[in-house]
């Protein structure tokens, strides 16, 4: 240990004696808000080391937690990611099944409310190969009693009619096709007009004189005059009216969602449906009285 030079000994002694007395003072002094001064000083002297120690320890701890302790995290992350993907797929499947169940429940409900109209449920298994024609293909055919010119509907409204049948499939011409048409009438005024497709999502209410009063939002239902569809099935809603010569140009949004068809109902009769006496404008109220036992829908 290095010896202190004699000329500095008194300085060291002075510093030591003063320090002792300062500590003596600090032990006696009590500040109102901070307690005894010696405590304040001690805390002030120790806290930087505590803070530094805490920082160093925290850094080591964070380093350990964020790096070394995460060695198995990638595997856990991969496992969780796989599980998450599987669960997402499962959720999507369940959502699809739930939506399908809702649709089938709607069909079943519609059929139960229309027990006097023979019909069979069919799944849409394909669409038309040509963009020029608006057709779909059903998973049921002649073996299920489906014949050409039979009407096809959903609980929402008219879809179209069967144009070709095969033993197990059938092709349906949608209402939006240029060649398609259905006997219709305004639900409120009961005035009858034909409805036909124009190759676009909206269909057209034809041959309406400029003098006839038709308003946007008016509901259009089947008239039953085409002998295919029963009366008062929803066809659509008037969305656009333009004056024309000699007839108005009226566009209708189809009641059935023809762009997202998955299950449909085929009306199993070629005989003219019996018209009910009702003149009600209530939609989706087929008036045909032909009865047939309900058939089980396609699985």
């Amino acid at each position: 240990m290095a010896a202190i030079p004699s000329r500095h000994k008194s300085l060291v002694l002075l510093a030591g004696v003063i320090l002792l007395q300062v500590l003596l003072l600090a032990m006696q002094i009590k500040r109102d808000s901070q307690g005894r001064l010696i405590r304040t000083w001690t805390v002030g002297a120790v806290s930087p080391f505590e803070r530094a120690g805490s920082y160093v320890f925290g850094s080591f701890r964070d380093t350990w937690r964020n790096y070394f302790a995460l060695r198995g995290t990638k595997k856990d992350n991969d496992d969780l990611r796989r599980e998450n993907d599987a669960l997402k797929l499962r959720v999507a499947q369940l959502e699809g099944k739930a939506a399908e169940a809702d649709r089938l429940a709607g069909l079943l409900h519609f059929r139960q409310s229309q027990t006097d109209v023979p019909m069979v449920a069919a799944r849409v298994i394909g669409g038309g190969a040509s963009t020029a024609s608006q057709t779909i293909e059903l998973g049921r055919g002649e073996h299920d009693g489906i014949r050409k010119n039979m009407g096809v509907i959903t609980p929402d409204g008219v879809v179209g009619k069967v144009i070709e049948t095969y033993p197990n499939t059938a092709q349906v011409l949608l209402l939006t096709d240029r060649e398609s048409g259905v006997g219709a009438m305004l639900a409120d005024s009961r005035t009858q007009y034909p409805v036909g497709g124009v190759g676009e999502p909206l269909i057209s209410l034809k041959y309406v004189p400029n003098d006839d009063d038709v308003s946007v939002g008016a509901r259009v239902v089947t008239s039953g005059m085409d002998k295919i569809f029963p009366r008062d099935l929803p066809v659509g809603t008037v969305t656009e009216i333009k004056p024309g010569n000699p007839f108005k140009q009226i566009r209708i949004k189809p009641a059935a969602n023809l762009e997202r068809l998955e299950e449909v109902l085929v009306l199993l009769t070629l005989h003219p449906l019996k018209q009910s006496d009702s003149t009600s404008a209530q939609p989706a109220t087929p008036a045909a009285a032909n009865s047939a036992p309900p058939q089980v829908p396609n699985p």
Binding site: L11, L13, L14, Q21, L25, Q28
Partner: protein
């Protein structure tokens, strides 16, 4: 050694005085007792700081910084002890520093001349007051004036008293 203020560089030319046995202890105790008793009867006496004067005298005479600062410490702590409103160490610190400074200066200057004693005592009084004020302000958080006319007058008074007191204390020196 003549009676004039004799400034000589080098410790070999400066005499280190020794005192009769118990002279320092008795002088310090007597100064403390008088300091505690005198202001009770003479209000103006509170301007005096006899323990400080004793510290300065023996510091200047003994000319040993270690002895001087320890003597200042003891006298200061005893003065603190006799003053209930003052925490122990307040005057102790101040007189420790004065004891050190006085003995350090005494080791370099011949301080036998009354004028030197007067000037040094007045100066040490001011330094002592500055240390007390610093301690009060920093440690005790108490308002204390650094210096004012009152303290200036006290410094002069203590300087004058020191001239006569030191002559009295010179009689306690052991004859070499």
């Amino acid at each position: 050694m003549n009676g004039a203020f004799d400034l000589r560089i080098g410790e070999s030319h400066i005499e280190v005085h020794k005192f009769r046995t118990g002279a320092i202890l008795i002088s310090a105790l007597l100064a403390l007792v008088i300091q505690a008793w005198f202001p009770l009867h003479f209000t103006r006496a509170s301007l005096l700081d006899l323990p400080l004067l004793v510290t300065i005298y023996f510091g200047l005479s003994r000319r040993n910084p270690s002895t001087g600062l320890l003597l200042g410490t003891v006298i200061g702590l005893m003065q603190d002890s006799l003053t209930p409103t003052v925490p122990l160490g307040l005057y102790g610190i101040a007189k420790t520093i004065i004891g050190y400074l006085a003995s350090s200066i005494g080791a370099r200057l011949d301080t036998e001349h009354p004028a030197a004693r007067f000037a040094l005592t007045a100066g040490f009084f001011i330094v002592h007051q500055a240390v007390v004020a610093l301690t009060r302000r920093i440690l005790l958080a108490q308002p204390e004036p650094w210096f004012n006319l009152h303290l200036f007058g006290a410094a002069l008074l203590n300087g004058i008293i020191a001239v006569f007191l030191f002559l009295l204390l010179d009689r306690l020196r052991r004859q070499s």
